[in-house]
């Protein structure tokens, strides 16, 4: 096959990491992570359809420290991918390509994803306390 001897990308380790390049690969990493997590959402739906025992298993898993840690990671990944995805959609329309602008919107995405994650978990815990 002609594909086996293709030239590879330049060696990544000779480049100094920059906010734009780090966020770019983070978009892909969070996307793959979310793809891995999405079937667990289906598990939640299916368990709710099957009945109380299956649903109890799901609740126990998500309620455990490991489940909560996974959920926290996925919440951040979700909001990061969402915010950076909007940044990508703006680029698709031709906006924000200026290097200075791309750096600013990059930091805005990080700040937005972080705040949305905090707000979500703050509300989740205040609601959990309210439901008997």
């Amino acid at each position: 096959m002609a594909t086996s001897n293709r030239p590879l990308s330049p060696h990544l380790q000779v480049y100094r990491p920059q906010i734009t390049s780090v966020l770019s690969i983070l978009h892909r990493i969070t996307g793959v992570a979310l793809a891995v997590g999405a079937p667990l959402l289906v598990w939640w739906l299916a368990a709710a359809a099957v009945g109380p025992e299956a649903f109890a298993t799901v609740r126990t898993f998500w309620g455990s420290w490991f489940g909560q840690l996974l959920l926290l990671g996925w919440t951040f990944a979700l909001f990061y991918h969402l915010c950076n995805g909007i940044r990508h959609l703006a680029w698709d329309l031709g906006y924000g390509f200026n290097l200075g602008t791309a750096t600013i919107t990059g930091w805005l995405v990080v700040a937005g994803a972080g705040s949305l994650t905090l707000v979500t978990w703050f509300f989740a815990y205040s609601v959990t306390g309210a439901i008997p």
């Binding site: 096959m1 299916a46 359809a49 979700l78 815990y125």
Partner: protein
């Protein structure tokens, strides 16, 4: 085989480069809205028992939105993973195998999600 024949953007997993590109963007726009709606709803259901969760899913609006959400989500996941596989998996056979398993998994997830929503919706009415 020439270069065009090896390019999976033409034929095969991605059908065509243009429709792949548009599919990813259209599902992205849909998902911006649906993810915000779902996360907000999911948070209000934190710690809720099965009865409350089923009640929420069984309402016509929720089950419709959830069904669209699941289809858009797994289509977006399929298109995204296809790009990742095309970037890193250059052996023809492995590339095709990865594409096929991604497609099958995404279809399976959507079907299981749809069936679950349908069951909960019907039981909620009956």
């Amino acid at each position: 085989m020439n270069d065009a024949g090896n390019n999976s953007a033409q034929g095969g997993a991605a059908e065509s480069g243009v429709s792949h590109w548009w599919g990813q963007r259209l599902t992205a726009i849909l998902l911006v809205l649906l993810v915000l709606w779902f996360t907000a709803s999911f948070v209000t259901l934190s710690g809720a028992g099965l009865t409350l969760v089923r009640q929420w899913i069984a309402s016509p609006m929720t089950s419709l939105f959830l069904a669209i959400f699941m289809a858009a989500l797994f289509r977006h996941i399929q298109l995204g993973l296809e790009v990742v596989v095309d970037d890193y998996v250059h052996t023809h056979t492995r590339n095709r195998a990865a594409m096929a398993s991604i497609r099958a998994s995404c279809i399976l997830c959507t079907v299981v999600a749809w069936l679950s929503i349908l069951v909960i919706y019907l039981e909620g009415r009956g």
